[in-house]
Structures are given as structure tokens and as C-alpha cells.
Symmetry: C3
Subunit: 398 residues, 3 copies
């Protein structure tokens, strides 16, 4: 679903619009295609199964071969344009339901049973590299050779004894509003204090932070200083990951590392993928609480409660003070800007410096795409650095 | 939701289109902004609560302060354009969920907690006068100083011993079709005789009326003469109120005054607000019947039964022969013209003189808006005049 | 619902688009209006009832007079454009709910009760010939004198002792994709072998056919030769009927004749009407099975299961191996091309010769419409010819 016809935009609006676009023929779309993105939960598709997914405004077929290996190819058969996911898996290939054309993991057509030849160059559809990691499936949709598969702070995810859990939320608005929210430390003092205060809001407190933003080799380091002993740091990796830390379920629990990716499905839909990692030093009680919590509440998706959340007269949703409450609060603020925020009517202040920096960074890189200059080479944030925790009082859990 | 792009219209269609438009940049939208309109039921929002409403194609925040006073301001925060209704009330102000900007009843930003200054001129959003009266909330959306708050025949509403009830119907079509229906006395002889005949249809009878329309100081007086002892009179107040009288629930009950407003939400949605007033001379049994009836049936909204009504093979909806049946019959006729009637394909006859007069009146006033001439100064219809009742046989109630 | 604005199309896409259009002002729409089409089940409307239907992008009122005779006239009253179906039947006429204008079966306005004259030339709305036959209602929407009402192989339908049943499916995509599927014998070897194999797929087998297409006096004869004793023949009647034969419910049952019409509702919706005819030689057990089967499963409509079918992880829908399974398989393949297939991105092969022939045939006839030349005069396929059956093994029924 694409957002606004170009001719309807004046110059200022057009400049904002370029931040929101994700399709292959847009500068931002081209920029985003230089990176690996999570595109599905590993559990979304089983061996021998296929489904259609939207990534960066492309319709794609995600399937696993009989071996269980994941593959990602074009969404439709090159013959009569039927959705491939309704076909069936044979080995590591998928066969179209309509006339049996068969495609391999690289998108090449390897069989056309009712034709003399097995397949020809023009019959190829896209085929993209895909990796399974940390409960997620990551893909690279660029035309160039794919870069090495790296994640921010893999060491934290991979450390022996850590327990990992995933989250997924299918938001019905543009990805860039969500990225902006990552670079907006002030929002925590309001959005996550809204009416119900969960452990996260309570820990960060509602005082106004002094803000610092530093462009790093990986992205942007954000520092929100609320007091000398209350300094919140998050490391944002270009173009759409954020590494933050949140308190555990009770004051006895260690803080949890959260890696959030905001993957555009198209210009008006975004999937958030999360990896939660509880560190090895957690004791058995903490580990049990963490596991039991995710078993019960791990699948909360605020967009599925859109009407309940926006129309509630009291804060009675969701029924979870931790991940669910935080997600619902963010959803009200960000989705409340609309499916595509009209930035031409904004009034930014000094406290929006994170958002301003972020836009400038993206405009700088987009312009390189447009002029054909090389974009910045970002380095993976691989070191296993822990982020500082905050000292705020800890609220009761749900 | 706005209806038809201007370039798609030929001149004749464009002339009709101007009758339907409601936005602030249209001549009709400007004309409508010279008047107070009901915008909500008083019960729609409680003390300390907020909701988003659409009025005249504007997105607005309706809230009550902690005092219970109603306020009406712009729908979105001037900072990052988040819906204000997801924020929270503080005294008579509302605070945005996203970064805590706080707005007063006049739309001025009175606090920006993460900025040095409390608020600046450009941070102001719209703020409109609002009054609670007769169970409804009325607002004035014009840019000029608001005129005195007057209602048609307030004395009938305010007379000691009268019992008032409200109705609200959220129709999914353009407001002007509904206003036209008010000026179309002939429709009663058909629409309200359709298959099921309730007390209203029975009282008015199905004979064809002789029509008279008189422009008054307040709007248009409509007279439909079906027999010497059957003269139906209604007083329509410019631009969108109608005062009619309808029979009670049984022949023993006195006739009831009904004041209907048709408030445009946008070009394709209209809310009808009603005040029903049973006069003081009603005896205890009539009063009890009236109250019991509204307790059971008062919330009927035909648009909520759109599919059932349009697809029914027998007249089995609604389950109420009085207000509900009348509303459903009108809905079939008016909503049956489409969300926006295509007037360029109509064939009006002499019996449509009320509709023709009405359109000419609006075109006359719209042209004054366009040429900058002063529009007609309408005077409130304040006198407590009762309308004549009709003698038709009275059908059984549901 | 019309599909693609003309200005968005390049020449190649425009040429494909012309195959899909159905409105009265399009060449294909004009061509289709030379023929009778089924427009409803006879049971869709009872005596004294009316409903709105869409046929060839026209909104129409289908009603039966008090006599039970079916009539088909314009969808809206010529006065104020209200849907006529909400009015009521009087004799063989229908009266508008709004002001009582009354229309006859030819669309002429025969009464305007609130006007002096009964009706005038410009008050006429369309009125089309309609016939009831074989459980269906057929209409002729052309401006010219209607041709004789003929159906393909009526003799098979009318033979003494045959049992007839109807099917109806309301597909949410363009009609031409469905016609193409009729001329695509190869698809049977894949679509109807998809995961579950019903009697139809089992009988035809999955081997690749050698194809022959012959333009006949009536349309196109299609021959798919899978082996010397496995020759599948179907007779397609211009412009949108297909006569095929399918195996019965068990190997003991005779093959069944199926006549399928694909009637465009508009450019993005199509209704498939079927007549199933079990021949007189069926024994009592076969007849009982046939009747019991249609009582239980005859109303399956794959579009009503759109989400279940497209999102299922295993083939567990529909719960019927015969008509339902076949319909669902076709639906996945054809609806899977989208609501309007993007033919500009296709890659046809030699096995698509049926589809190519079909398009050429339609382009040839459309061009005659555009240049004003006479189109081909098709003759009815009246002879009671049976089609050859296939020898494949017979699968168990549901």
C-alpha cells in the first residue's frame, strides 16, 4: 500500500515523503536494501510450508524446503502471476499450483512441465538470501552482493546461559514514525507514564531528560540524563534497529536486553520484531518468571486491539503491565500520528533534537543514493556491552 | 472523507457538489460555520474524559475538564500531530500523551514541559465555544465572534413539566440529502407508509398533500395540506434544524415536539441529533409510557442495521413501530440515494418545490459567501408555538 | 467497481485492460451486451420481492411481480435516484419507496402520484428481457432487439429423466481470468491435483495433455489428449459459457454434464452460475446420491472462504471432495492472480495456446465493435452431444 501520489506534494512535503518510502524504485527503498532485515518469526513457516509476506513494498514467498531450510523468493509465478504460496514444496523448490512451474531458492525457474524447455532466463523471479537467527528470519533484498550477516551485539544474544524470547507486532503505520520514536528519549517521560505505570515507566521516571546524540560507527548512541544516577543509554543501529534495556518483571530480576527491528512491509505497514535476552546471571526464580511471563503474554500485538485502545474510557487494556503495556502506550502515541504522519504541520522544539538528527542523517544518505555517491559504511556493533540501568522505583507487575 | 475531486465534475455537477461540501475551505463550509451545531450527546464524554469527533470535516477533541465543563479543541497536538484524546485531563486542560504539551479550552498551548518556554503563538490549535443544552453539546466553529447561542423554540423545550429525551443517529451519507428530506412533505405519504405503518404514518395518512413553502425570518415554514382538517406544518431553521410534531405512542398520548439537527461530520457522514419533548399536559400514564419507551428503544440507529434493512425480504426490522420505524424508513429512502446522491441525473417535478426552494436558498447564500456580500441575518425562532396535529387514524404500537 | 484509470495504462497494458472491461461504454461491454447472460438464481427473488443486482457494471433491480414473473429494470428511480428495491411490488410493477413513482417491466414510469401526469419519456429507466430457465434467470442487456433465447445443448438439460441442480459462486475478481481458465486444459493437471485429489482430478490424471483448439460456429472446442483413451473435450460457447463433463460421486455414477457461465458483475466481481445435469440413465442409487450430495454441499462458495483458503497450512478446506474441492482449487489459482491479473508481466508458453487463441478471438471481435463492422454471428450449440469421459482412477469421495 503506497501512500501519497507524488504530484500531490509540495517540495517540503515531498522531502518528508522521501523518508517514508520503501519501494525498490525510491531512494530510501534503495538505501534500506543495503541491509539485512528480519522478515518473519522462524516459527511462521514450517518445513514444507509457504506463505506470502510483504517486505519493503515487495510481495514475496517465504517457504521452507522439506529439509527445513528457509527460502525467500518472488511472490508470484512468472508465468501467469499466481501467488506461489498456494503451490507445494518439492525438496528445496516450490511448484506453482496453476501450471506446475517450479522455482528454486534463488528464484530461477527449474521446471516448466508443459513446455519443452525446463526454464529460461526471463522466467526467473527474485530470490534473496535468508538466515535464521535468534528465533527470527533475516533477509537481504539488495541487488548487490549481500554484506556479511551481522547483528548488533550478537555476543549478548549468544552468551551461554542467556534465555531468548521473541516478540512480533504488526503495526498499521509507516516505519519511519517508529524509528523516530526510538530517537526520542523524552517520550518515555510521558507515553510510558500514561495513566498506568508499569515497571518500565517507573524505572525511567517522569523527569525530563537532558539529551545527547552521538553518531557512531554503527548508528546513533542516545543518552537521556535524568539525574546523575539515572542515565538512560540506547544504541541505535542504522537503519532500523534499537538496542535498549528494560527492567525485569520484579525488582529481584536482572534487566533485560531488548533488540527491536522495525521492518517496513510497505509504506503504511510495519512489523516490529524483538529479541528479548535475559542475562545468564539471572537466578532460577527469575528465569522461571521470565519464561512463564512470555508463555502467557508474549504474543501481545497492540494493533490487534486498535479500536479497544483508541476508544477506551479507562486504561483497562492490555492486561499486562510489562511488554504489553509499553507496546500499547507507544502504539497510542505513534499510531495516533496517523498511518503516515503529516510532518509538514509539525512544530519541533529543542527536545526533538534526536528526531532532527535522525532525519538529517537519513537525508544525507538518501542524497548519496540519488547522486550516486557511496553511502556511509556502517560497522557492526559487535561488542557485548551492557547498557546502564535506571534507578527509579519499581512498580508492581500485573 | 471528502467526496469527489473537483476536476471530475462538469459545471452542473459542480453546482450540486457545492451543496454537499462541508470543509473549512468551501463556500458551504464557510456558511455552515456561521451557526451553532450540536456535535455530541452530553453523555458522550464524562468529566476527565476526551474523545475525537468529526464536525464539518474537521477532526476535533471533545473533552470535559475535571470540573465537568465541556471543551472543544483541535484533534491533534501541534507538536507531532498525535491525537490529543489519548492524553489526559488536568483541570480544564488536556495533556498530549506523546511529550506532554498541554492545551487549554481555547486551544492555546500552555505548557511544553521539555522546552524552555511554556508555549508560543504557532503552537495554538483551534478552540471553539461549546454549550451544553437539552442533553446535547452545541459548538460554534466559525472564525468570527460567535453569535448568541439560540435554539429554535427554546420555550417549548424549557417549559416547566416537559420531559425531554434525546436521540442520535450516525448516518453514512451526506447531510444535504437529509436536509432536502426535511423540505419534502410528500415523502411522508410513501416512505412512512412503506409496508409497516406506525403511528406517524397512520396519523399523517397517505394522501398527497398540497404544498406551500414560505421563507421566514428563521428559515422555511412548510405546509402540507391533505384535507381541511389535516394540515401538517413544520418549521425549518436555517441551515439544518427541523421542528416537527409527531403523534404519541397511543391515541391517549399528546403529540410530541421533535427538534432534529443534521450535523455534517464530513462530506459522507452525518449525525442526526434529536430532542423529543413531551408537553406538560401529558398525564402520568403518558409520561410513564414515554419514559419507558425511550428507555427501551431510544438508542436505535438505522445505520447500524444497514445490511439488515437493505437486504430484508420482509419488513421485520426494526422492532419498534415509533421512532425506530420512522428512522429506518427515512434511512432506506435517503441512504438509498447513495452516500452522495448524483443530483445531475435527477428529474424533479412540481411536487419537489420544497427541495428546489431549498437549493435556491442555499445557492443564494453560498454565492454571497463567494462574492463577499453579507449573508442573510436569520432570527431565532423563539416563540413557543405549537404545530398543528393531524387527524389520521392511529395505528397500534409495537 | 471499475479497475484502472485509463491514463495510468501504457499501450500494452491498455490492450489487456480492454479484455477486462464490462461497462456499457467499453468495447467489450458492448460486445457482451449482444448475448443473454444468467444474472441470478431463480430462487434469489420470490413473487412480490425485489433486489439490487450488478450485471456488466450496471446496477439493476430484479423483481418478480405478484404473478411470479421475473422482471429486470434499472436500479434506481429516475426521480431522486433512490434504490428501487426498497419499494414495493404492485401487480407487475414496482413502486419507489420515496415518492411512489411506479415503473413497469420495460422500465417505463407508469405513475407519478404527486404529479399531474402519469409519466413522461425522460422518466423511463432501462428495462431488459429476462427468462427463467433451468433454475436460473437469464437477461439480455443490449440496446438492439434481443436475439432468440438459446442455451448451449439445451437438449441435454431438457432430456426427460435428467436431474438438474444449480450452483452459484460469487468471485471477487475479473471475469476474464475465469474465461481464460476455461481455455486452459493444462491447469487440470496441476490445480486439481493440488494436495487433495478429488474424483475430478483423479479421473483426468496429472499427465500433460496435448492441446487442440478449434474455433466452431458456437465458440471454441478444446481437446486435451493425455493418452489414446484419455481425451478430454470441452465446448466453450462465446462469450462466457463452458460445457464440460465431470465424473460422478462414485465410480458407479454416470458422468455429469456441467454448464458454467461466468457473468461479470463489474470489472472486479464475477458470478459463476452452474447447471449440473445427471443423465437419465443414472440408476436410483446414483440419483439419490446426486440429490443428497447437492442438498448438503450444493451451496459452497469459495470466495466466502477466501481467508481460510489462502491462509491454510494444510488442505483442510473445503469439507467436500467433489464440487467444493474443485471450486476451491480453481479459486486459489485464479483469484491468486489478483482481482485483476497484471497480464503485462506474464510469460506465456506454447501450452498457453488456448489462452492466446481466446484473447485473439476477443480482440478480433472488439476491434469490429470499435470500427463498426459486424461481429461474428455465433450459432447456438443445440445438438445433444455427450462429451467423452476420462479413464483415470477414481478417488474416494469426502
Amino acid at each position: 500500500m503506497n501512500a501519497i501520489p507524488a504530484q500531490a506534494l509540495n517540495d517540503r512535503a515531498a522531502r518528508f515523503q522521501r523518508l517514508a518510502e520503501t519501494g525498490p524504485d525510491t531512494p530510501m527503498g534503495e538505501l534500506l536494501r543495503q541491509f539485512w532485515h528480519p522478515v518473519a518469526l522462524a516459527s511462521d513457516v514450517g518445513a514444507g510450508e509457504a506463505k506470502t509476506i510483504m517486505v519493503l513494498s515487495e510481495e514475496l514467498t517465504l517457504y521452507r524446503g522439506d529439509s527445513g531450510e528457509p527460502h525467500l523468493i518472488g511472490g508470484r509465478c512468472s508465468h501467469r502471476r499466481t501467488l506461489l504460496k498456494t503451490g507445494w514444496i518439492e525438496g528445496e523448490t516450490i511448484r506453482c499450483i496453476y501450471h506446475g512451474w517450479r522455482f528454486g531458492p534463488d528464484g530461477a525457474c527449474v521446471e516448466r512441465p508443459a513446455e519443452a524447455d525446463p526454464g529460461m532466463p526471463r522466467t526467473k523471479i527474485p530470490g534473496y538470501p535468508i538466515k535464521e537467527y535468534g528465533g527470527l528470519l533475516f533477509a537481504y533484498l539488495g541487488e548487490e552482493e549481500n554484506p556479511p550477516f551481522e547483528l548488533p551485539r550478537k555476543a549478548l544474544i549468544e552468551q551461554e546461559g542467556a534465555i531468548l524470547r521473541n516478540g512480533v507486532e504488526r503495526w498499521d503505520n509507516n516505519w519511519f514514525q517508529q524509528v523516530e520514536n526510538s530517537m526520542d528519549a523524552t517520550h518515555v517521560s510521558f507515553v510510558h507514564q500514561a495513566l498506568k505505570v508499569g515497571p518500565f515507566g517507573a524505572a525511567v521516571t517522569s523527569s525530563i531528560p537532558q539529551l545527547e546524540y552521538h553518531e557512531t560507527n554503527s548508528g546513533i548512541r542516545q543518552i537521556g540524563r535524568r539525574a546523575d544516577n539515572n542515565v538512560r543509554v540506547s544504541d541505535w543501529t542504522f537503519p532500523n534497529n534499537n538496542h535498549i534495556t528494560v527492567p525485569g518483571l520484579t525488582p529481584e530480576d536482572p534487566w533485560i536486553d531488548v533488540f527491536v527491528w522495525m521492518t517496513p512491509n510497505d509504506d503504511l505497514n510495519t512489523t516490529r520484531f524483538m529479541i528479548y535476552s535475559i542475562p545468564p546471571e539471572a537466578d532460577d526464580a527469575s528465569r522461571d518468571r521470565f519464561i512463564a511471563y512470555f508463555d502467557e503474554f508474549g504474543e501481545y500485538d497492540p494493533a490487534s486491539q486498535h479500536d479497544e485502545l483508541f476508544n477506551m474510557r479507562e486504561w483497562n487494556n492490555p492486561n499486562d503491565m510489562f511488554v504489553g503495556l509499553t507496546a500499547a502506550q507507544d502504539y497510542l502515541a505513534i499510531r495516533g500520528q496517523g498511518r503516515l504522519a503529516d510532518r509538514s504541520k509539525e512544530l519541533l522544539g529543542r527536545s526533538d533534537m534526536g528526531v532532527m538528527n535522525l532525519r538529517k542523517l537519513f537525508w544525507r544518505e538518501i542524497e548519496k543514493i540519488e547522486t550516486g555517491e557511496p553511502t556511509k559504511v556502517w560497522r557492526p556493533m559487535t561488542e557485548a556491552e551492557r547498557l546502564p540501568t535506571q534507578p527509579g522505583s519499581h512498580a508492581a507487575t500485573a
